[in-house]
């Protein structure tokens, strides 16, 4: 409710500023113009949204799977953790703006460079949250698994992996926003479709409202994706939904 009022106030202020202020429409179109663009260009926006949505959705999935596997590998091997973890942090400092065009030259205009970029910006939060969850499994729990004659794999399968799953999904939720930005960058770097590509074209064509309309769609899509992940979390890990006690006694 409060967030709705906030949006209304912001949009209203923006409308007034754009209508009355001296800013050129090509720089800051009024919300009403953006709404018109959303409606008039709906088929164009929709077909491009589908492309970007697919990139982001698949990219997050790839990041989730890779991130989870990587976290498990780092958890199981201390050597690997000491050796590879710093490299992962370093990988996040790579400026994707620079890398993206190179990947396009390497892999072409298709889906692959987009997935690579989105996965690159998204896997890190998944690794960090998953690894933390794996490492914070109660040592008594593992002791118990040992006295029940569980093998290392069984201890992982029964006690550690289920504990890490919600954390991996949290990591993916954190990654949603950067995934969308990553997709736009990737499309800027070279593509023939997608909302990022559309924006890149719209601005020189002085179709600024259309570019803003694309931004609105991207934002809405990010919210939707976040919600979908929250839903998946509730479906996959029903036990985490309601935990009345803290550290179980």
């Amino acid at each position: 409710m409060i967030s709705l009022l906030l949006v209304v106030a912001l949009v209203g202020g923006w409308e007034l500023y754009a209508d009355l202020g001296g800013v050129d429409d090509f720089i800051l179109p009024a919300p009403s113009q953006i709404a018109t663009a959303l409606w008039d260009d709906r088929s164009l926006l929709w077909s491009n949204l589908l492309v970007t949505a697919q990139e982001v959705g698949l990219g997050i999935l790839v990041a989730l799977v890779l991130g989870f596997l990587l976290a498990v590998a780092l958890h199981l091997s201390g050597t690997l953790r000491r050796g590879v973890y710093p490299l992962l942090v370093a990988s996040q400092a790579v400026p994707i703006v620079i890398i993206a065009p190179l990947l396009v030259v390497w892999f072409g205009f298709g889906m692959v460079p987009k997935l690579a970029i989105i996965a690159l910006v998204c896997f890190f939060p998944v690794v960090v949250t998953t690894l933390d969850a794996l490492r914070s499994v109660d040592p008594d729990q593992l002791k118990l698994m040992r006295t029940l004659d569980a093998t290392r794999w069984q201890a992982f399968r029964w006690a550690e992996a289920p504990a890490a799953l919600p954390a991996a999904l949290s990591g993916a939720k954190i990654a949603v926003a950067v995934a969308v930005i990553g997709a736009v960058f990737a499309e800027y770097a070279g593509s023939s479709e997608g909302l990022g590509h559309l924006m890149l074209q719209s601005i020189p064509q002085l179709e600024t409202p259309r570019a803003y309309a694309a931004v609105v769609l991207l934002a809405a899509f990010a919210v939707l994706l976040f919600g979908a992940l929250a839903l998946a979390e509730r479906r996959l890990v029903p036990w985490a939904r309601r935990r009345p006690e803290g550290p179980a006694r």
Binding site: Q141, M145, L148, D149, W158, A240
Partner: protein, 247 residues
């Protein structure tokens, strides 16, 4: 000094199987802290031995030695396969009560249906009927403890090591659970090594009460209790154990 840990490689025995444990001159230190020092303890097949001692006297260490989770620094630990029931129930929140109870059965390679079939009759026998499908967070503290005990029982090992199983419960539930455990053990006879800081609990449940000294733990008294026992027997043993603890 010789360190020798023998973990017998035999199959876990079934309900009526024996199971003995024997510790001779066992010492264990963690850095500068000496938890146990020259501890001797014999546990006979089918016997319930209750170990009491002040907190921090190495009671948990004693159980972990018997279960083979730790090795002694000195002395000898010989025990039939033993299973630990830790202080907290450590039920897995993602498993239903019956799957938690049957965890050891599943780990030994049985299918979910087989494992549930093994656990199901025990649920009725131990007052958990109707809660098979509940998740741990839906159970009360006492019930969680019962499920944890079933899980321990279903491991099929002849020696049960119970680490302050009721310490986390309120006084009323604890009393109720002590009666429940006494009954459960008379039904499913096993060798039990129970540690507790509650002298009355020890006197109520044990065939024998073993009193440990403050850290580093050593045996300072062993008190046998007749069976069947009267309330007066329990109180008498409690008094003698408290006296031994004070000295």
């Amino acid at each position: 000094m010789t360190t020798k840990l023998e973990a017998p490689a035999q199959e876990p025995r079934n309900v009526d199987g024996g199971g003995t444990a024997s510790l001779a001159g066992v010492s264990r230190a963690f850095g500068a802290v000496r938890a146990l020092d020259g501890l001797d303890l014999e546990v006979g097949a089918g016997e319930i031995v209750a170990v009491v001692g002040p907190s921090g006297c190495g009671k948990t260490t004693l159980l972990e030695l018997v279960c083979g989770l730790q090795a002694p620094d000195a002395g000898r630990v010989r025990a039939d396969p033993a299973v630990l029931m830790p202080q907290r129930d450590n039920l897995l929140p993602w498993l239903r009560a019956i799957d938690n109870a049957a965890l050891a059965v599943r780990l030994s390679g049985a299918s979910r249906e087989e494992a549930r079939a093994r656990a199901h009759p025990l649920f009725a026998a131990f007052g958990l009927e109707g809660f098979e499908r509940a998740r741990p967070h839906e159970l009360s503290g006492g019930m969680r403890q019962r499920v944890a005990f079933l899980r321990t029982l279903l491991s099929g090992k002849p020696v049960l090591c119970l680490d302050e199983p009721f310490a986390a419960l309120d006084a009323l539930t604890r009393r109720e659970m002590q009666d429940w455990l006494a009954q459960a053990l008379s039904r499913e006879r096993r060798t039990v090594l129970l540690v507790t800081h509650d002298v009355e609990e020890a006197a109520r449940l044990g065939d024998r009460v073993v009193v440990l000294s403050p850290r580093p733990g050593r045996v300072v008294a062993q008190l046998g209790i007749p069976r069947p026992r009267s309330e007066a027997d329990v109180l008498a043993v409690r008094e003698r154990a408290l006296e031994a603890l004070r000295s």
